[in-house]
Subunit: 708 residues, 2 copies
């Protein structure tokens, strides 16, 4: 359950960013001890015990002490809720306590009569847990505790990981092994991994886990599984993690034996109410339901001629007495091939604004297609002023090279969050909408599709851990910077040496753009291999339906390439505010990065660089692959600062990434060349093989295709 | 790749029996250092480097030193092949060097002019690796190095783990997660787990791995997979592990596009020859093929009117130029329901004795049914004097409670090995047949169906590691005792404290009999749940064919119970030697343990104990479940000697085991009571539920049912 701070067999990555390695600086060590040798830290509840355990674990590793626990606040350091901090209360005005709410905390240090005193306080035990992790982070990252005046509180309410895990332990789009939920051994066996999972989440403020795949199995709602889910909920509770379940809309039929799942049918309403009450009888603080309805073959209210609001509100009514919520996904498409799939969510949800219950929140992906390396931000952000909306991000690298490519995703996430919707005037960014700035009555939240599996290092790639970490940090505060998060993560996960941090932080911050360059530059999207989404598949043209193919999205022909989403095309752009329409619609202002997302252009189109579109595209593909080679050189130069095991892991993975980047580059350049009919400009290496070769490659058993 | 000796996060079990914890005894520490402070250990080859790395790792953990490496043998300790030991050669007569063969080793210590000198020598680098592990074991188990005169060599040649792993990473009958072979990331990414797997195997003398399921996928023979298999072979080679593949007999059709897989067809012969040559072009020391043919729906030579010998020899001919072997499984049954499935292997293979090529070895399970908690030994042992025969054991607990039951399997394995076949006179035990005592020209070997998966602790249950360990030790020396092996394993894996070792060794040695008692006492067999083999299913009567049901095997009716395999019944007993027939056939000599395996008896049959058969059966079921409770008490009393993490894991697992033992007991007693029509004798608890309840229990997603 609780790990010691020493690494084992080199460093296998299991400890994530909670390694608690000894502090090198003697002066910092002395300073930390002066604040923490003695402390008043009451711990009556399981949650406070978890916080104290973590503090002891961390201090043992960082500075080799176990603090002496005092029986009352007596002029020494204090970690306690605000009703127990005695005289130190004068340090924390009521206005601050009000501001931090239930989950926030305050950390202050002063020197009192020559004595260093630390205060961590909060309105709740959960705030104390979060404050304790924050305090440990300061020490892990080598910050002084002197003169601290920290006021921290989360900007969103629901901060959840979505696990696309099936009861048979396969993980849809999982690239780090299999599901960490060992259903067969539950409820009797609580794997210590569950506790460490909860600790890691709590350390970054994540407060919920949706345990199962959005393509949901009805088994999860059976008593045999509810007792197992209860066991997980009990294990997570001290760390402030509530469990949620994905549910299948047709459950009343498949599980309940009813003839319909029509959300307005009284029997259906009753079935869900009884089932929901049953769940709460096992798990009193159950979080609620996540629903994928009328999308990719899943049943939903439209199956019965009802709206998304009818469906979501029916479930919301069942959950409301227990204070549970419904997270209803906006990733929808019906069984008709659309002129532009990018328009579907907006078309279906915009008319429903204001019709959803107070405990229903619409979960919207960052972009309107599907977690691509780059997409324009989703037009629903800002378009539903009277509806709770949360952002769904994908941590698992379905479209970003699985777990062999180093891609730090915070810049991708931030690109969406920092986008200005102009829906409430200038600077009404997605981030501000997510924070509920414009309608404080709404629920706010962020969901990350987890990249966690049974691999010893949790995420498959040592650097993929950074995406789990960054998600938590950004859900807590969407204004946080990708660079600052990378800095903290690198210090905690690898080393605080500046000569290591500086170059690796640069590589991390650049890594997503590198991947865009060798996969989908200039606004290209969804040209990955069919079904498994592994490697390049720009030639994919023969799937079940047109909008599952690559050619639907790139629309390359001898005249040009790109998806015209302006008025002359699908006019998906019309779903945005006028300012955004003007910005993306005008070729003079539309950034190169979004060019082919919104415009179909001639191969001869003259880019800002002076190159033709064809030349520019080739340049991006080659620059992307080259950047991986450069990243390899950076990593190789950092060998002295990394333990042997992880150094070798990353080195091997980068070699795989480079090989795959070259395959992406060659496949796409050769394929698009059949339309551009232009040579590869001089100065670029010829592809090693011809297009037929790349098209012939097959990859059986691509991971991440698990099904129930 | 190489782990440090410190535990991390408590002890998660990843380090197996190679923990190298500090030696507590000061005198032993001093002694060990005196032998190992300086050493001549030439290490030109990868295999010797692996041995030296292991020595350094072990000594760093055990006694905190890194030995000084000398440039020549100069009166100090030496670890080197016999051609490099200089003057120490006089310690090792040629006769001993001849005796130890290629894989054996010698360890000697003397005190020379007041100086402690150690010699580890061998005829090969592999012998040095094995000797190094043995030396480390002596220190791990707290033995003195003074006066050592060890001569060790393996008694069997082929010591392999059979992995029933599929290319999609499911593991048939796997209960420790999923396949550790991450095919998608191979060949580019060598998981450090592969190296640690090879180390663990080498430490107990295992020298081969069959990488894939006997229900084999043809994908493994494609170039895309061969390059991955080569990468594993390269990783394993320093540790003396050769890779083998399970192959599907119809591969020439499915992969080669031929019209037939007839082993006498010239095109088929040619196809296998070319494919085999291709494999060796990747892996020059490839071990060979394992084949499941004409069994459970798999194709085989009989499909084409040919014999097992025709099929095996054809493959043998393809492998012979490369010195590879064929392991041909005797676990066969055709598509007709037999009068007694126990007779099939003998009936099919006995007539073929002497017809198999020199590089073909028949792989025979311990008993004639299928890895049951107890079976009579397989009648083929000793019945094929002119055929190479190896023993197939199942480490994974398909029929022994999966990975939640503590079952130390060495007593089960030994029961088979120690059985006297009388085929070459008294004391011609299975062990001696396996060792090739009666025909030195034959290949010898043992296979263990692996219990290894992606679980951090490799085997799911901390004590299941003991079965992997014991298999290696017994393959090396079938005469080794289950108790001595348990002793070594406990010391290395947990603690050398006598107060811990004594009671836990007793529990381990008793654990298999306990499980027999609550599952299948008195010779009952194959009454597990249908398909998944989870939990009790004595009522199973409606499968695809009779010999897949439980009622076929227990034959209970109101008159009695048991499978009559004497002359009055199936006469399977007639397949054994006359002495064995007499022993098992006569109710006066047949042990209670085998009673219902060989005899159908009345419920009123009077047992040696004075009880009726019904009373005796009830007694066994209750005693079995009670013994788990006793084991829990033992474990709870040992808390001071075990790290917190593994203590808690085992404690939880034992609670699950107890619950399942009770369920076994209640299910079987209530079910068989419907035939015996006798009350449960006084003094035994009434089952909590009725039979209908136990029959109604369903377990979806039982692990271990992975398919290609």
């Amino acid at each position: 359950m609780i790990w010691l701070s020493q690494p084992c067999h080199g460093e296998n990555g299991y400890n994530l960013w909670l390694r608690y390695k000894p502090v090198n600086s003697t002066s910092l060590k002395t300073e930390y001890r002066s604040y923490l040798n003695q402390i008043y830290f009451p711990s009556e509840s399981d949650r406070l015990k978890a916080a104290l355990d973590e503090l002891n674990l961390g201090l043992n590793g960082l500075i080799g002490i176990k603090p002496q626990l005092l029986v009352r606040a007596q002029g020494s350091s204090v970690i306690a809720t605000s009703n127990k901090i005695g005289a130190l209360k004068k340090w924390v005005p009521d206005s601050v306590l009000k501001k931090i709410g239930n989950d926030g905390f305050v950390i202050k240090t002063i020197n009192q009569a020559g004595r260093n005193v630390l205060l961590v306080t909060a309105n709740s035990d959960l705030g104390i847990l979060y404050g304790t992790f924050y305090l440990l982070k300061l020490m892990q990252t080598g910050k002084t505790l002197s003169g601290l005046d920290v006021v921290e509180y989360p900007r969103t309410m629901v901060r959840v990981l979505d696990h696309w895990d099936n009861p048979n332990r396969t993980v849809e789009r999982g690239y780090a092994g299999f599901s960490i939920w060992n259903w067969h051994k539950l409820p009797g066996y609580i794997d210590s991994r569950y506790i460490d999972y909860a600790r890691a989440n709590a350390s970054v403020g994540i407060n919920g886990s949706v345990l199962n795949n959005v393509n949901a199995s009805i088994q999860m709602l059976t008593p045999a599984y509810l007792v197992k889910i209860k066991a997980l909920a009990d294990a997570f509770r001290p760390y402030g993690i509530r469990v949620y379940l994905s549910v299948k809309f047709d459950s009343p039929i498949e599980l309940g034996g009813l003839k319909t799942a029509d959300p307005l049918d009284p029997e259906v309403i009753k079935w869900w109410k009884i089932k929901t009450d049953e769940i709460y009888s096992y798990i009193p603080d159950f979080g609620g339901f996540l629903v994928k309805a009328n999308s990719e073959g899943q049943p939903g209210p439209q199956t019965y001629g009802r709206s998304h609001a009818d469906g979501a509100n029916m479930l919301g009514n069942a959950l409301a007495p227990h204070h549970g919520i419904v997270m209803w996904r906006a990733f929808v498409y019906d069984d008709k091939v659309p002129d532009d799939r990018a328009k579907q969510a907006y078309n279906e949800f915009k008319p429903l604004d204001g019709q959803f219950n107070a405990n229903v929140i619409i979960q919207v992906k960052s972009g309107p297609i599907d977690f691509q390396p780059r997409e324009a931000f989703h037009p629903l952000f800002g378009a539903l002023p009277n509806t709770s909306v949360m952002l769904e991000l994908q941590l698992t690298q379905e479209y970003l090279g699985f777990s062999t490519h180093l891609v730090y995703e915070a810049p991708l996430f931030k690109e969406c969050m920092d986008a200005d919707t102009y829906r409430q005037g200038k600077n009404s960014t997605v981030a501000r909408i997510l924070e509920g700035v414009y309608n404080p009555k709404l629920i706010t939240g962020m969901a990350g599709v987890a990249n966690i599996g049974t691999d010893v290092n949790w995420c498959g790639h040592p650097f993929a851990q950074a995406n789990w970490y960054a998600f938590g940090r950004l859900a807590w505060n969407p204004q946080a910077s990708a660079a600052a998060i990378a800095d903290d993560w690198l210090r905690m996960t690898f080393s605080s040496e500046k000569v290591f941090i500086d170059p690796m932080k640069r590589e991390m911050l650049q890594s997503r753009e590198n991947t865009v360059n060798y996969m989908t530059p200039l606004g290209l999207h969804h040209i990955m291999g069919a079904s498994g989404h592994y490697g390049p598949g720009p030639w994919t043209d023969n799937m079940g339906r047109a909008d599952w193919t690559a050619v639907y999205y790139h629309k390359a022909d001898t005249a040009g390439i790109g998806f015209d989403r302006t008025k002359s095309g699908s006019n998906a752009l019309g779903q945005y505010s006028p300012e955004v329409q003007a910005y993306f619609g005008n070729l003079n202002t539309c950034p190169d990065e979004y060019l082919l997302w919104f415009h179909h252009l001639s191969w001869q189109y003259k880019m800002r660089s002076g190159k033709t579109l064809w030349e520019e595209m080739v340049h991006h593909y080659y620059a992307g692959a080259d950047s991986v080679k450069k990243m390899q050189q950076t990593w190789n130069s950092l060998r002295p600062y990394v333990d042997q095991e992880r150094f070798s892991e990353v080195q091997q993975l980068m070699a795989v990434q480079y090989e795959e980047a070259i395959r992406w580059r060659n496949s796409c350049v050769l394929y698009f060349q059949t339309f551009s009919r232009q040579p590869i400009p001089v100065g670029y290496d010829r592809p090693e093989h011809d297009l037929a070769y790349y098209r012939s490659l097959r990859y059986p058993n691509v991971p991440g295709q698990g099904v129930n």
